[in-house]
């Protein structure tokens, strides 16, 4: 079995894995980082979004081996210790989540969205979150959360 090495949430990890192991399975099963979710089998829902070298990516669509040598951030690594990331705080402040299942992927996508767009308007946020499905919230409070976080992130 091949060996894979990467940095996950700041910690180096090395493991032997079957070559067809998906990155999302590696994170969830091998590393027990279960905050990254699986909501579909067609790369459509965004529940699995993480950051690979600072860019958002769907972990269900990447082989663990493809991430060899990469810097991975999952939702568990977003906060700095007990200090929540502004996006995490904004989701709580603005009731941007209900069941929470889409939320981790949504937050990871939104962080990247704000990084790329600065202070996005509603339409940009809605367009930018097209790859993330939420069945609970109707998105309105998610949009509100992202806007609020952008204010704080971008000063």
């Amino acid at each position: 079995m091949p060996t894979v090495s990467m940095t996950v949430n700041g910690k180096p990890v090395t493991a032997e894995i079957a070559p067809n192991t998906l990155l999302v399975s590696f994170l969830r099963e091998n590393l027990r980082l279960t905050g990254t979710h699986v909501g579909c089998d067609t790369s459509q829902c965004g529940a699995c979004v993480i950051h690979i070298d600072g860019e958002s990516a769907k972990a269900c669509t990447v082989l663990a081996l493809q991430a060899n040598g990469a810097e991975i951030t999952t939702i568990e690594g977003l906060a700095k210790g007990n200090n929540l990331h502004p996006m995490q705080k904004a989701f709580q402040e603005n009731h941007g989540l209900q069941c929470g299942f889409c939320t981790t992927g949504m937050i990871m996508s939104a962080v990247d969205l704000v990084k790329k767009h600065g202070k996005p308007d509603d339409a940009t946020i809605r367009k930018g979150l097209e790859g993330n499905i939420c069945r609970c919230t109707g998105y309105q409070n998610i949009v509100k959360s992202v806007k609020a976080a952008a204010q704080e992130m971008e000063g």
Partner: protein, 783 residues
């Protein structure tokens, strides 16, 4: 009390922390030592005989532990899945609910039907071995649409159900309604189709069975909205284990919308197989399995007639519906198109005569059961489309015709011709506020402006009503329910004054951990961070009925209020003893117990401590501060309101843009406005999904599910939806101690009619849901 954490405050949700840091604990996040993985082999055919099944090769494959089949379950005495609500047909015969084995025996009846379970050390091994199980089928004719299934000569799906008819049910007065129709000034007649939907909670269904041979106890972790109902059915009907040896845990559940109420094949199989194999077994649905085998929703074909006098006053409503129930009757499938549907056909209106008949037909499709709103969206769609079309045909303003028919605010209790008694409401107030918010008087000018851009603008109303807080046990029992629909609550003070509430309700996104804590904080003065809400584990909480039908606050919250009453009563005795006063002289408010007219007082925390350290304590009072209550509602609750949608259609592309959405809902008293608003948003989004985007389609020829993934089944995404403008009015419910009505389903119930009324208003033409660009374009082009 109106504190910052009490009733009426938009308290930020206590449960959010674990979800936003990735520490939610959903089913697939849980693993047990020595766990195996289950993979279900499913039927590729819509209807077929299983002529042979050979697992020899699969059993030799690496890591395979077992291949289990329907006959294996039968041999172990495991009973079939049940339908828990008995419906009686017009002719007095009981509904037909053919045996539904958890794994197929001899015959498969829909694509996705569970045939066998492969258990292996890893999921990959189970999946690979499934390929080696040799199954031969002999295909049979199939039928997909309910109209076809009920027609003469249709393929027979069950040998013991002639004509595929499960039941032919009626409600109301046929002769009186026919009389009203024949004497009417105007009759609106319409065929309406309520499209079939797939619920799609974002967390797929999953189950993990874990047998302990030492205690002979099975623990079933499952994605359930009602773990005790799961335990009851799995014990009493499926005989998986006696109730005291079966623990059902529904941990964090990622959305339900009804689809996680039911007792499905997969969890039944996992609960049985873990003991048989003496190994933990985990199964998690792939999304494609969810599409195939979660209970679907809606799927009605209806013909309706609404009779009016010359002023637009409704004289009668006659509704004939064919409901597709899929290939078996799921857990509550029979109640949805009957007592959750026909009983709401009076809407917000005084209608002297109503008659409804429903034929439920089996088809070679997945079972159909409750999905957000369950019966009530279908009823609202009929009533609100019919009155709107009637208004158009008679040239009466659609807001005006509704007002002429509203039940007056002083007419309560109001008994409808379809066995409901509404306790309270103010329909004209909600309508007026909605008209003002959307600037109805400015609509004509806005329409003209759209016209100058070559766009078609439309406005549509839905004045919905629903029956929530299901429901008085004796009443539902007399209508066929196999269970009582009360709720439980246990309020436990810890010696240091913090509180744990054990509730029979289950939260899978609704925010109970906050709303319920607000009730405790409000009533007993406990800081909200000192209140913990525990739910979802039959090993911890008292027997409860779970969450569906917008019942958690109206029924579960009322149970908490009853337990609080007991706490207060006991506390008064302790306070009286300690403060050397008589019990009658103790006054309670917000957790402070005072001797009337003095400044002598004790706080709830002091009393709780005294109850656990009873050194100076009344002789006739038990130690401890831990009270349990069960609450059986007196009536349904009746949330109602008006939604108005405004749209603009591009006739060249057929795209519909939702420009504005106003919702004014009467939910009675509101505990947490922020959470209520969120519930309304989510409900409207699902209702818009139904009207604009979502449609479950099976290929009639092959019986295959054509919309089996997110590539084919169009889920509402962020850029499909507008910003909703949501308000509430608050006419307190008169039949429960909190005065609350329930808000979880309102949006999904109201939205489809509002949006279709707007779209057809713009088009000047009727189309069915979903209003896809193609359909809209064809209508706009006059094709």
């Amino acid at each position: 009390m109106g504190t910052q954490t009490g009733i009426g405050a938009s308290v930020k949700r206590k449960e959010d922390k674990r979800f936003i840091i990735g520490k939610g604990r959903y089913l697939d996040d849980i693993s047990r030592p020595g766990q195996t993985y289950g993979y279900f082999i499913r039927s590729p055919h819509a209807h077929a005989k299983i002529t042979s099944l050979d697992s020899t090769a699969a059993l030799k494959a690496p890591g395979v532990v077992a291949v289990l089949t329907g006959p294996d379950m039968q041999a172990d005495g495991i009973g079939p899945l049940i339908c828990g609500w008995g419906i009686t047909s017009k002719d007095g015969t009981p509904h037909k609910a053919p045996a539904h084995p958890a794994l197929a025996i001899g015959r498969v009846r829909y694509v996705g039907h569970q045939v066998a379970l492969v258990v292996a050390e890893t999921l990959q091994q189970a999946r690979d071995a499934a390929e080696l199980v040799e199954i031969e089928y002999e295909e049979l004719d199939h039928v997909i649409e309910v109209g076809d299934a009920l027609a003469a000569g249709a393929p027979q799906i069950h040998d013991d159900v002639p004509g595929n008819l499960s039941f032919d049910w009626e409600l109301g007065d046929r002769a009186k309604t026919d009389g009203a129709i024949s004497a009417a000034h105007h009759v609106t007649r319409m065929k309406l189709r309520n499209n079939r939907l797939i619920p799609n909670a974002m967390e797929p269904r999953a189950a993990l069975g874990d047998y302990d041979s030492g205690t002979d106890e099975i623990t079933l972790y499952t994605t359930s909205q009602n773990p005790h109902v799961h335990r009851l059915v799995l014990s009493a009907f499926n005989a998986v284990a006696p109730e005291h040896k079966l623990r059902v845990i529904a941990p964090d559940v990622g959305g339900g919308f009804g689809s996680k109420i039911f007792i499905y094949s997969e969890e039944t199989v996992c609960a049985w197989a873990t003991k048989k194999l003496n190994r933990p077994i985990k199964w998690t649905a792939e999304r494609s399995e969810s599409f195939l085998s979660d209970a679907h929703g809606r799927d009605h074909e209806t013909f309706a007639e609404m009779a009016f006098d010359a002023n637009g006053k409704i004289l009668g409503l006659k509704v004939s519906t064919k409901a597709n129930v899929g290939c078996y009757l799921s857990t509550f499938a029979s109640a949805v198109p009957t007592y959750l549907y026909g009983t709401l056909l009076s809407g917000q209106y005084t209608i002297p005569a109503i008659y409804c008949e429903v034929q439920a037909g089996f088809t070679n499709t997945a079972p159909v059961d409750a999905y957000r709103g369950a019966g009530r969206p279908e009823a609202t769609y009929v009533v609100e489309r019919m009155i709107e079309i009637g208004a158009r045909e008679m040239g009466i303003d659609p807001a005006e015709i509704r007002k002429r028919n509203f039940i007056a605010p002083d007419a309560y209790p109001y008994e409808t011709p379809v066995i409901m008694t509404y306790d309270s409401g103010n329909y004209a107030l909600a309508m007026d506020k909605a008209l003002e918010a959307i600037d109805y008087s400015g609509f004509a000018a806005r329409k003209a402006q759209s016209q100058t851009k070559g766009k078609l603008r439309g406005i549509g109303f839905s004045a919905f009503i629903e029956a929530c807080g299901i429901a008085p046990s004796a009443a539902v029992g007399s209508l066929g329910a196999g269970v009582g629909l009360w709720e439980s609550a246990q309020v436990r003070f810890n010696p240091t004054g913090s509180v744990t509430v054990f509730t029979g309700s289950h939260s899978h996104g609704q925010g109970h951990e906050t709303t319920f804590a607000q009730i405790i904080s409000d009533q007993l003065g406990v800081p909200i961070d000192q209140v913990e809400i525990s739910h979802g584990d039959t090993g911890k909480v008292p027997f409860g009925m779970g969450t569906y039908g917008s019942r958690s606050l109206a029924v579960g919250g009322s149970a908490i209020m009853k337990a609080i009453d007991k706490i207060v009563e006991k506390s008064k005795k302790i306070a009286a003893h300690t403060l050397e006063a008589s019990v009658e002289d103790i006054e309670h408010s917000g957790g402070v117990f005072k001797v009337a007219g003095t400044d002598k007082q004790m706080t709830m925390a002091e009393i709780a401590f005294s109850a656990y350290v009873p050194h100076n304590y009344p002789a006739d009072v038990e130690p401890g501060m831990d009270e349990t209550a069960f609450y059986d509602p007196l009536n349904f609750t009746f949330p109602a309101g008006t939604h108005i949608a405004e749209v603009e259609i591009d006739p060249d592309t057929g795209t519909t843009e939702i420009l504005d959405w106003v919702a004014v809902d009467d939910f009675g008293n509101v505990i947490n406005p922020m959470i209520v608003e969120g519930q309304v948003h989510g409900g409207i989004a699902q209702g818009i999904g139904q009207a604009l985007l979502e449609n479950c389609v099976y290929d009639k020829e092959s019986g295959q599910l054509l919309t089996g993934s997110y590539m084919d089944y169009c889920m509402p995404r962020a850029d499909d939806l507008p910003t909703f403008r949501v308000q509430t009015i608050n006419t307190p419910c008169k039949t429960n101690p909190l005065g609350v009505k329930g808000c979880g389903e309102a949006g999904a119930i109201s939205a489809p009619a509002a949006l279709m009324n707007a779209i057809t208003n713009a088009l000047g033409k009727e189309i069915d849901m979903p209003a896809t660009p193609e359909k809209v374009w064809r209508a706009a082009q006059g094709l």
